[in-house]
Symmetry: C2
Subunit: 380 residues, 2 copies
Amino acid sequence: MTPAPRARQSVGGLGESGILRILNRRFAAVPAAGDWPEGTVGPGDDAAVVAAPDGRFVITTDAMAQDRDFRLDWPAVHGVRFDGHGLAGGYSTGWKAAAQNLSDINAMGGEPSGLLLALTMPPTTPVAWIDGLAAGLAGAVRHLGATRCRIVGGDLGSDDRITVAVTATGDLDGRPAVLRTLPPGAHAVTADLDLVLCGRAGWAAAGLDVLETPRGRLDELLRAAEQAEQPEQPEHGVRRLAALAAAAQLRPRPVLGAGRVAAEAGALAMMDVSDGVLKDAGRLATANGLRAELDPDWVRREASVLVPLARALDLASGQRTAERWVSAGGEDYGLLAALPAGAAVPVGFRRIGRLVAESGAPAAAENVGSAGGWDHFTDR
Amino acid sequence: MTPAPRARQSVGGLGESGILRILNRRFAAVPAAGDWPEGTVGPGDDAAVVAAPDGRFVITTDAMAQDRDFRLDWPAVHGVRFDGHGLAGGYSTGWKAAAQNLSDINAMGGEPSGLLLALTMPPTTPVAWIDGLAAGLAGAVRHLGATRCRIVGGDLGSDDRITVAVTATGDLDGRPAVLRTLPPGAHAVTADLDLVLCGRAGWAAAGLDVLETPRGRLDELLRAAEQAEQPEQPEHGVRRLAALAAAAQLRPRPVLGAGRVAAEAGALAMMDVSDGVLKDAGRLATANGLRAELDPDWVRREASVLVPLARALDLASGQRTAERWVSAGGEDYGLLAALPAGAAVPVGFRRIGRLVAESGAPAAAENVGSAGGWDHFTDR
């Protein structure tokens, strides 16, 4: 039994084997970890051997860098409150690294089967942080319901700052993958496509603004807003909204069954929203020579619940800020799917716009351009 | 057709799509890239779908960090000369990232089927460098003979420094994987195991010492050593040795068929040498409750060709330095296998020692302890 890490211990003195003990203790929390089918191999060797029952597997990878994609001192999220440091920052980072990969597998219509972790970090990295990272990876697998997913291995390296690179694999169980591009012939039979979304939009972006507001200033702003609130709606209070938004940023919750549901409901194209609905719907459209139109009513409705928070944060215009969160904010990991126009909306999805022919008459709806959303190398 | 990158252009102005164009142009050099079997999906979507013909796949991952695992200004390697900068540093980094992952797949007895690249970098990263990185990844796949291997996808992110994380997948084609641990029952039938190695040991470590010697000083040292050389052996001249050693460090060449050859020759346990023969043979032994003994004659023989280089570099003792390179130097990615004592040595392997019972009488041969070799978090 590995003793729990001391609060201020750093990884420098542990060596690789000590670090692996810390990680593996947390990874054991993933239910299927100990149960490997005949002919497969778990972590600890040069490589792992993973089952792919239908003779194919889905695979994706993501890298997160310290101070860019995560911070060492991200606060803890307990229920809807957020406070505390240390283990918590690692937990949220691990959770998010797992969630964004599991979301990619989901967006192909696959079911997650494995995660690999490549971790570089300085010797001064707190042990509690990597312990939290491992707990967060395992926690996301468990709480997001990736019941078949195992932690299959990884790599450790050292660097001046922490980089977390996670790779996920998935199974299709014999179904075709649902791509960003329409299947051959789909253009001919569909004049127009409905754009549907599963999951929220804008909450993670709102949460980033909450987390980037200095703590003292945030308390001041929320207190002022609370004094102006209607006392009969405490469950929609700005303090609770702020905590929910922070949780959405720190622990995104892609709906892992949704990819399969949409595929079975006849989704023709699909992708997850990592860089914002505007940008990603634009990508889905462009991949098919189409143009995306978001329903401005949907944007307004989706934004309405966030408006009090935007106002409380003292942002120029509450309404405009909330709508920008919804249309351009990334990292909610919703699932965007295209269906034949008028098709039944799959369970858990809402219609948020449409994909139309590039040459179609300009619609009244908001056009999706290249503006808005996130590009790691140009705009923000 | 994407125009060739200008020498001093950096990635900041390209955006993700521009960076992907640069990478994909190089990845197209991998022969099988365009030829994806029915039901599989290539790069560009949320995830890739890769074939796993026998219903399982081998998977491994490695992360490399700038200034730790590679340098932006690593020199070029042309044949056995090394000079030039820019593209070349990226090429060697891409090559090495691919090679160490392909080596892990090989060490399980698998055949590489796919590579994923997760790349974080600052906007100031020279375009020529990432162009070189992509060319190096594709070059290693081609030149190391991973004929079935595709580039299946990846992820881009930004950070203050470059991190390259590569994940590889492989196929076993129905064969059992060869693990670090002996198969059940193997202890009972084998009193003693032979330790065999395919590939060189010590060359990459020698190369690191060459590359870390300032260029002017290196020229001076090599010129002095050349004046003392026998003129009838120019092909073993120290300048050529230095270039070969640098090439071994920058472009390691794991023998990708060797895993399968050893498996078919009855190898009971196997792993690749990434952290040095001493350390990795020790790990192979420890995984089986055994003790590793290296044959001191093999160490001496293997070191002998490097002695002139060690002497030229003005290192304390040429013989001792060369033997340390061979026994403790990592990154040659040789393949270490354990066979029943006296079994025929598989083609391409040499016997370098043995694995004996922990309780066995101490042998005259060099004992393998925890000293020597590379741990990212403690000794060097």
